[in-house]
């Protein structure tokens, strides 16, 4: 049989998850330059303005193109690109040539020195072997200082050391964690050409950090180079105020070139106008999200230091940006520090204002196409923080991704922030969706080999089984769907056990744009379950099982208040047939007698007494669930009330009110810090379940006591079947490593209502009607392993269960 099963694999491409892209060495510098753009933002042009002459100067700045690149697609790598670009890039060029170069030129210089530095040689050789020997020795005597322009433009130098030398303080900084090292894209161990090193120097000189910067190259005995960057840091007048302004969507101030030939007066006028402009800019700017606490910290930082230095500004920038990024404002950037040389430092921030939201559909090849899905369906899944006017937050993006994914309409979803070319610092949120096929069908077959006589399978015992599933999703683009499946374990005689389910789902019955979220569902179903009502108590031999077959139709409306809390109400029409082991309809339960016979006068299985009940009733269920995960442990409370209300329609005119109230509390016993990898808190779970029925109660609707979801330590229904039920449980969960251990105490009671079930199945099968248990267990992935002791017999047993008890 043909199997056409389009397996859709959902891939979530949130950009931050993208691996760092490999870059070629040539654009490595520029790429890093872009990614480290924020550093290069304070391009403080020292040539024009000496600290003393330029008061109140907005020292600038960045260009529009750079900013666009930075906040756009590349901003991702901002977080992730940790690999030295040289290393990744160097693989591109041929390794053979490099090896030769070293052997040839390095042979002379290094050969001699190698006698003295043989360990280094060995080290170098090792590295050569490791990195594929792609760098050239400098070919110069060791330990001499060379001018940068005396290096060969053809060679590929390896840099083994980078040292910053502060001329003002006369101190050397070689600590790699120093913020200055972020400035250089060169990395220790990297391999660069002369041009790259020169470009680096230019970048450093133009970045604004330094008043003056020089680069000295020292030759090392092993053929590598040591770079000494000597610098004088830019400093400004000390400040004791900090102001943060939001300059997003504001045009950048243009750097007006000052004519060097201006007179003093003209200069003064120029500065004045600059100052005025800047004031206006501050006034026009909007306020920031940055909270007072961070501002205070910055102010203290400023006050504790004397002069405002470049490194200080760098720290401030890091601090501000870190706060933004920690809050998920991934597009926020400190673009500039203005108003330097006054008492106030003005930090200009682009927060990442969303200017536009665009939703695109892609076909299988990734081309943009027209989508079948109505846009409002997607719109309503987007958090309002993703709409224009808000600040882009990565968490909102993730939320949107999750929400859209929960629609189950798309095979691929991407949520990307993209810089808006039209307005500076603006972000366009781009959502790319690949739709799943609307219609799908699946046929699967299987052979069941049933052991025949003497345990050997015979030809006749091989049964072909199979299932047919079809699905029509997203009808009219409104996420309506029809799903049907038919399964049989014996295709030759499918009437034996044909299970089917057809379901029609119609979401947004109040309209797609209405915030009320109600979904209509209609389904046809059948099911076959063994009734736990007809189960023997302890000491009763095997009780012949009773199967409850249900065939019916169900229509209900679900209103979702939150993701977890919902209210469902609807109508159920069903036919219930009770069958014995031989699949023939039976009317009464049976129990084996000590003599070996069967007592057939057990409780009636159905209300009508014929073994077949037909009835219609209304069903409602309201769930309130505010549980959440605290480091993987569930905390909160969950209440559920379920009601089956008989309408007097059906066999014997059943009129009943069957209700259940479940209350579960997950109480966190210890406050813990939230975060990934942090241990979950110990949790106390209190659970109570009350069920009751007034009116007609057929045996299959009686509440059963005992079982993994009732009173653990007993079999399903081992304690009784009753009209009213009360279960109480306390469970203590203690986290141990990645999982948790738990201890529990449970009690279930029929409240003396077993006799109110017709035929008293509890007594007929010699059950007690109540029971307690206690035990301990461990959660192993999906499986619960528990040792439970039941108080009636006092014996314990080890159980393995799937899923959660609560």
């Amino acid at each position: 049989m043909a199997c056409s099963a389009p397996r859709q694999v959902l891939s979530f491409a949130l950009c931050s998850a993208a691996p760092p892209r490999r870059r070629s060495p040539s654009d490595a510098v520029s790429a890093v330059h872009i990614s480290d753009l924020s550093e290069s933002h304070f391009q403080i042009s020292k040539s024009n303005h000496s600290p003393k002459s330029s008061r109140n100067k907005a020292l600038l700045l960045y260009t529009a193109t750079l900013s666009a690149a930075a906040v756009g697609s590349e901003f991702l790598f901002h977080f992730s690109s940790t690999l030295p670009p040289g290393n990744t890039g160097s693989g591109g060029s041929g390794g053979g040539g490099g090896g030769n170069g070293w052997g040839g030129s390095g042979g002379d210089g290094g050969g001699y020195w190698s006698r003295f530095f043989s360990p280094f040689m060995a080290h170098a050789q090792e590295e050569r072997a490791d990195s594929g020997a792609v760098w050239d020795s400098h070919g110069l005597p060791a330990n001499i200082v060379v001018q940068l322009n005396r290096l060969s433009g053809l060679k590929r130098y390896k840099i083994s050391e980078i040292i910053f030398f502060d001329r003002r303080r006369n101190s050397t900084l070689s600590n790699a964690s120093n913020s200055l090292f972020e400035m250089v894209s060169l990395r220790i161990g990297g391999i660069y050409t002369k041009a790259q090193i020169q470009a680096e120097l230019e970048t450093l000189a133009s970045c604004g950090m330094f008043e003056k910067v020089d680069l000295e190259v020292k030759t090392m005995p092993d053929g590598t180079l040591s770079l000494v960057i000597s610098f004088i840091e830019s400093t400004w007048q000390s400040a004791d105020c900090f102001r943060c302004i939001n300059v997003g969507l504001m045009p950048q101030t243009k750097q007006m070139e000052m004519d060097p030939d201006l007179t003093d007066r003209e200069k003064l006028a120029y500065y004045k106008s600059m100052e005025r402009d800047y004031r206006r800019r501050i006034d026009r700017s909007r306020s920031c999200l940055l909270p007072h606490s961070v501002r205070k910290e910055v102010t203290t930082m400023l006050r504790s230091q004397g002069k405002v230095s470049a490194r200080m500004l760098q720290k401030i920038r890091d601090k501000v940006q870190r706060w933004y990024h920690d809050q998920g404002y991934a597009c926020a950037q400190v673009v500039n520090f203005g108003n330097l040389n006054t008492r106030e430092v003005v930090c200009e921030v682009v927060e990442g204002d969303i200017t536009q939201l665009s939703i695109q559909f892609q076909d299988k090849l990734g081309n943009i196409c027209e989508g079948n899905t109505e846009l409002p369906v997607i719109h309503r899944e987007l958090p309002k923080q993703l709409w224009p006017g808000s600040i882009f937050n990565i968490e909102a993006g993730k939320q949107a991704l999750r929400n859209i994914n929960s629609l189950a309409l798309f095979s691929n979803i991407e949520v990307n922030p993209r810089p808006d070319e039209k307005s500076e610092g603006g972000i366009i949120v781009e959502i790319k969706l690949k739709e799943l096929d609307q219609k799908s069908a699946e046929v699967s077959t299987e052979w069941n080999i049933v052991p025949g006589r003497q345990g050997r399978p015979t030809l006749a015992s091989i049964q072909p089984g199979g299932s047919v599933t079809f699905e029509h999703r997203n009808i009219k683009g409104l996420n309506r769907s029809i799903v049907g499946s038919v399964t049989s374990s014996n295709l030759l005689n499918p009437q034996d056990d044909l299970s089917f389910k057809f379901e029609y789902v119609h979401p947004y019955i109040d309209g797609v744009t209405d915030p009320r979220n109600r979904t209509f569902r209609a389904s046809c179903f059948n099911s076959r379950k063994m009734s736990p009502v007809f189960t023997g108590g302890p000491g009763v031999d095997e009780v012949p099982p009773i199967w409850i077959d249900r065939v019916g139709f169900k229509a209900n409306i679900t209103e979702s208040f939150t993701r977890q809390s919902k209210f469902t109400y609807g109508l159920v029409v069903e036919e219930i047939t009770t069958r014995d082991e031989t699949s023939s309809i039976c009317t009464h339960g049976a129990r084996p007698l000590p003599t070996g016979g069967l007592s057939m006068e057990g409780p009636p299985t159905t209300l009508s007494g014929t073994g077949i009940d037909r009835l219609a009733f209304a069903q409602a269920n309201i769930t309130r669930d505010n549980t959440k995960f605290v480091n993987g442990a569930i905390v909160g409370e969950r209440n559920m009330f379920q009601l089956d209300q008989g309408l007097g329609i059906g066999s014997n005119f059943p009129f009943f009110n069957r209700h259940q109230l479940t209350v579960t509390r997950f109480i966190q016993l210890k406050g813990v810090e939230e975060g990934i990898g942090k241990p979950p808190p110990p949790v106390l779970v209190l659970h109570g379940h009350y069920g009751g029925c007034v009116g007609d109660l057929p045996s299959y609707d009686a509440f059963t006591l005992g079982g993994p979801y009732s009173v653990r330590g007993y079999n399903m229904g081992e304690l009784g079947a009753c009209r009213n039920i009360l279960e109480v449980t306390a469970e203590l969960r203690v986290p141990v490593r990645s999982t948790h251990l738990y201890a529990f105490v449970e009690h279930g009671n029929d409240l003396g209502s077993s006799k109110d079930v017709k035929g008293n199945p509890t007594k007929f099968f010699r059950r007690i009607g109540h029971g307690s248990s206690y035990g301990v267990g461990a959660k192993l992935g999906l499986v619960r392993m528990e040792y439970a002791v039941d108080n009636n017999s006092g014996t314990g047993a080890l159980f393995f269960r799937f899923g959660e008890r609560f």
Binding site: Q327, N393, R624, R723, F764
Partner: protein, 393 residues
């Protein structure tokens, strides 16, 4: 499929004898001959395997008995005696076997009853297995109506013995023990219930042994089930009979003390098993009577069987019974409703609309409110909260 009819054999045997005797006594043979064969065969079809000939015989007898029964019932229905449907009683010859003193006493007592306008007395004997129910019945009637076997349980069929004496009819219903394998046997109870259908019970004798020292939950269960059949009011018309009364109590106790303690223990269990509250219990006075059925029972000068305390127990028992009948409220008529018990499915049905309204207004609404609160108080992550912007001072 095995059917439990096989178990009826023993008691059935008893009945066979009883009925054939009865037939013979009033010319039942003739009636038997009149029975057309097809009816018998039809009747036998009702049973799964009526293979054994004696079984067939039994059924033929049964059918004949039923025919007689029907005949009489019809007659009596005309006369307005329907509820005395099983009055096909024969003369109480057994009474003649009692010593003269006992006879006098009994006749006196019956006369007393007659004065109270009671002409029928139906006694139901119940209890666990092997406590001496059948023996007690035999003792009271002075005849061997119920087979007594020392080691074997007698099966599951109750029997009724009716005796007439001087226009007074005494019915005694002997039931099988209702305990099986440490549990109450619902099947036996079911059979007893059906047997008692449309009969009127005047007195219940709950039989247990005097020489049993301990009571346990099983006793409670048994008593609970008996109460379940008839309702609590049966205990207004009940007496507790303790058999094997001729015993020497354990060391250090005198006989009366022992009896007192034993009866108190038993009565306590009656109270617990029947779920009678202490208040109700004060109104109910359940007499305890001692019985010794053994042939070796001591006799007094008049030849009456006496207990260790010198009481002639048969007249005493009958006297207590009659006292209960006279004083203890209404007799209990067993009808279908009583057998089925109150239908739990109908209880509270009228209140369902009220319950529903309560559920809607108090439960559903309050949960909805709680959900609304949850939505409002949700601890949202920072980014989801309304944006707070800070202006510099």
């Amino acid at each position: 499929m095995k059917f439990t009819v096989g178990h009826l054999i023993n008691k059935g045997g008893t009945l066979r004898w009883a009925s054939s005797l009865a037939n013979r006594a009033r010319g039942g043979f003739r009636l038997h001959r009149l029975i057309p064969v097809p009816i018998a065969t039809t009747a036998s079809f009702l049973l799964p395997h009526p293979s054994a000939t004696w079984k067939r015989f039994f059924f033929l007898r049964l059918v004949s008995w039923l025919c007689l029964f029907n005949f009489l019932t019809e007659k009596m229905a005309v006369l307005g005696f329907v509820h005395m449907a099983f009055q096909a009683a024969r003369e109480w010859h057994g009474i003649q076997q009692f010593p003269a003193a006992t006879q006098t006493k009994l006749i006196e007592l019956l006369a007393k009853l007659k004065q109270e306008n009671v002409s029928t007395l139906t006694i139901l004997v119940m209890g666990k297995g092997g406590v001496g129910k059948s023996s007690t019945v035999n003792s009271i009637l002075g005849e061997r109506v119920a087979t007594v076997s020392a080691f074997q349980s007698e099966g599951l069929r109750p029997i009724i013995c009716s005796r007439a004496r001087a226009g007074f009819i005494l019915n005694i219903i002997d039931t099988p023990g209702i305990v099986e394998g440490g549990y109450v046997n619902e099947q036996a109870i079911g059979i007893i219930k059906r047997f008692l259908l449309n009969k009127t019970i005047d007195v219940l004798l709950y039989v247990d042994r005097l020489d049993a020292y301990r009571m346990d939950t099983l006793d409670k269960q048994v008593l609970n089930d008996i109460t379940g059949i008839f309702g609590k009011r049966i205990w207004n018309r009940a007496l507790v009979v303790l058999t094997h009364a001729q015993l020497s109590p354990p060391d250090g106790l005198n006989y009366d003390d022992f009896v007192e303690r034993r009866s108190q223990a038993l009565l306590k269990y009656v109270r617990l098993g029947a779920r009678i509250t202490k208040l109700e219990y004060q109104k109910i006075d359940i007499p305890v009577v001692l019985v010794e059925n053994s042939g070796r029972c001591k006799t007094n000068n008049n030849g009456e069987k006496i207990l260790p305390n010198g009481v002639a127990w048969i007249p005493s028992l009958v006297e207590t019974i009659i006292n209960v009948v006279i004083s203890g409220g209404e007799s209990i008529r067993v009808d279908q409703k009583l057998i089925d018990g109150p239908n739990p499915n109908n209880r509270g049905k009228l209140f369902i609309p009220l319950i529903l309204a309560f559920q809607y207004f108090f439960l559903v609404k309050s949960i909805q409110r709680a959900i609304r609160n949850d939505v409002m108080n949700e601890n949202k992550p920072l980014w989801e909260r309304p944006v707070e912007r800070f202006d510099d001072e």
